[in-house]
Amino acid sequence: MKIHYLIIRRILQTIPVLLGVTFLTFSVSHSVPGDPARAMAGIYATVETVEAIRHRWGLDRPLPAQYVIYLRGLLHGDLGISIQTRRPVLDDIKDRLPATLELTLFAALLMCVIGIPFGIASANWRNRLPDHFARLFVVFGGAVPTFWLALILQLIFFRWLDWLPAGTRISREMVEPAHITSLYLLDSLLTGNMPAFLDTLEHIVLPGITLALTGTVGIARMTRASMLDALQKDFIRAARANGLSRKAVILKHALKNALIPTVTVLGLLFGAMLGGTFVIEWIFSWPGIGTYAATSITNLDYTAIMGVSLVVALVYVTANLLVDISYMILDPRIRYE
């Protein structure tokens, strides 16, 4: 089957899922106890105002009709009004999304750059020192609560050592880099703004490391397992018989085979990290949708919470789509089935 056909089919498969996602968020937001019309109107509103609001927002219509209204609103980008900020939720999210994306992508980069070599080393020196070290890391890293780790790291590196800042994205005195991609690291590099780059880097290191931990553990484990699997294969012995060095055999022949199952897990881990931002951003005062969600919980801003959940699901589905497509491109067996 031609690969273009496979890719398009995969993209089309996301549509029913996205539809289902909207239905799920709709259902969840409707399980909120209490009267939404009353919540929107405020405590001091009169009965007439509440009824007017109820009618205006279609809350007196039957559920299926409400869902259609909801869907139509979504297509126009209407995610409701946030109770905390009194602004459209979409605008709130638009302002904050780039910060979260920058943090998550940074963490994803760390996850691959640290996790994959860990896994390779672990498989290559199986049951020897690097392996024990890596497995210890995996065991403890998988158990540590990230919100607690964030606090501890802040304590050590900010309070005790004063090496790194405790929060926010960029120092107050610094000017934000030109908004090309809204990712400060990239923007400052693209405009050659080195002071801003270094400053941003300082700020992103701690939250990035904390966020990357779960993903790194997952990737290291997966890489180790798939490398061990690949190293057992016959063609490895054939490569050695042809005169290749051990290093070449591992890094060329085994690795590509091992990366294929590892890539499939990347999407999953990305999603886990997206969830992690809800907690970590809050602790590091990172101006992203995670902090927004956390404060929405405290303020019982249900509209905002639902809006954020929907957006996160959207990002997650897109990430998985990209991962699946790259998997299709990487593995020739899929292409030429």
Binding site: D234, R237, A239, R240, A241, N242, G243, L244, H253, N257
Partner: protein, 328 residues
């Protein structure tokens, strides 16, 4: 008599497992001469593949070569570092493996895997590299070689994959090719083609061939000399004609008798060798075949028989049969 290209002497390879030490090879000695095709035969598990891997230095833990000498082009391969062995593997000594569907890397093209070897040993690149790769494929009579270069193993048939494996082994014009059961994993029609190919190539390129198989028919067809193995020992070595016409060791005799033939009367019982293959962790003392040998003597239990020349270029390791030969 031509000189020995490869000379294996007293090769002992052990595997250290949880159940005990598997003495896979206990003193294997044989030669492969220049331009000669030697068949290494024996039943499954007798150590043929282990011998091949030992020659190439590919025995990984828990296995280890504990003793022996393997002389090739004036060097003892067992004394060489892995780096030096890497130069020899694929260039002077190549191996063609058994199963073409698992011995090719599925995520790289044939061209990639073939060129990798040529580039590694002959440092070619670019257009010259491609030319040599095509040349190697042409050698193995591959139809449409240019197309095959850009294809992945899964797109090729079993026979074509096997040809690719052979091409990869030949690409650097080695002096010795070790073929480990090259026809076991392909079906009968392809078998014939592969065998013919191997035979032709041997003469065209004046290579030596060490053919590992359990199929005596192939040996009869292709090989100049035969080496018979049993449970990690060599029991008989002779020219093919001599072995088939006048086998001396009881094991060889029994093997030849056990080959079914179109000419046999279908109502007769196919003879088989009584007893079972020995446990290599606790092998029988001295001669490993003596529990099943029709000519076993007291001596067989205490002193291990050496390979002794009992006829011109015909060596046997067995007390009873050697003595009987001497008498006759």
């Amino acid at each position: 008599m031509s000189e020995a290209l490869l000379s294996v002497r007293d090769l002992e390879t052990h595997f250290y497992t949880y159940q005990g030490v598997v003495q896979a090879l206990s003193g294997v000695s044989f030669d492969v001469r220049l331009g000669e095709a030697v068949g290494l035969v024996g039943e499954s598990g007798c150590g043929k593949s282990v011998t091949a891997l030992s020659i190439l230095g590919l025995i990984e833990p828990p296995g280890r070569i504990v003793k022996g000498e393997i002389r090739f082009e004036g060097q003892d391969l067992l004394r060489l570092t892995d780096r030096k062995m890497q130069d020899i593997r694929g260039r002077s000594i190549s191996m063609v493996f058994q199963d073409p569907s698992t011995y090719l890397n599925p995520v790289y093209t044939i061209g990639n895997q073939l060129s990798e070897i040529i580039h590694l040993h002959q440092k070619q690149s670019g257009a010259e590299l491609r030319r040599r790769a095509l040349e190697a494929l042409a050698l193995v009579r591959m139809p449409d070689p240019a197309r095959v270069l850009s294809q992945y193993p899964l797109q090729l048939s079993g026979g074509m994959r096997q040809r690719c494996l052979i091409a990869m082994a030949l690409a650097c014009h080695p002096s010795l090719i070790i073929a480990d059961e090259p026809t076991t994993a392909v079906d009968v029609t392809i078998q014939a083609a592969i065998l013919k190919l191997l035979g032709d190539l041997r003469h065209e390129m004046n290579m030596s061939l060490l053919l590992i198989t359990h199929n005596l028919g192939i040996v009869a067809q292709l090989c100049d000399r035969v080496v018979v193995m049993y449970a990690g020992d060599i029991v008989e070595t002779a020219r093919t004609k001599d072995l088939f016409r006048a086998p001396i060791h009881p094991y060889t005799k029994a093997l030849l008798q056990a080959v079914p033939s179109v000419y046999h009367d279908p109502s007769t019982v196919l003879p088989s060798i009584p007893g079972m293959v020995p446990d290599l962790i606790n092998p029988p003392p001295a001669c490993r075949f003596h529990p099943r040998c029709s000519q076993a003597m007291e001596l067989c239990r205490t002193i291990k028989p050496d390979l002794r020349e009992v006829a011109p270029d015909h060596y046997v390791a067995g007390h009873g049969c050697a003595m009987r030969c001497a008498e006759s």
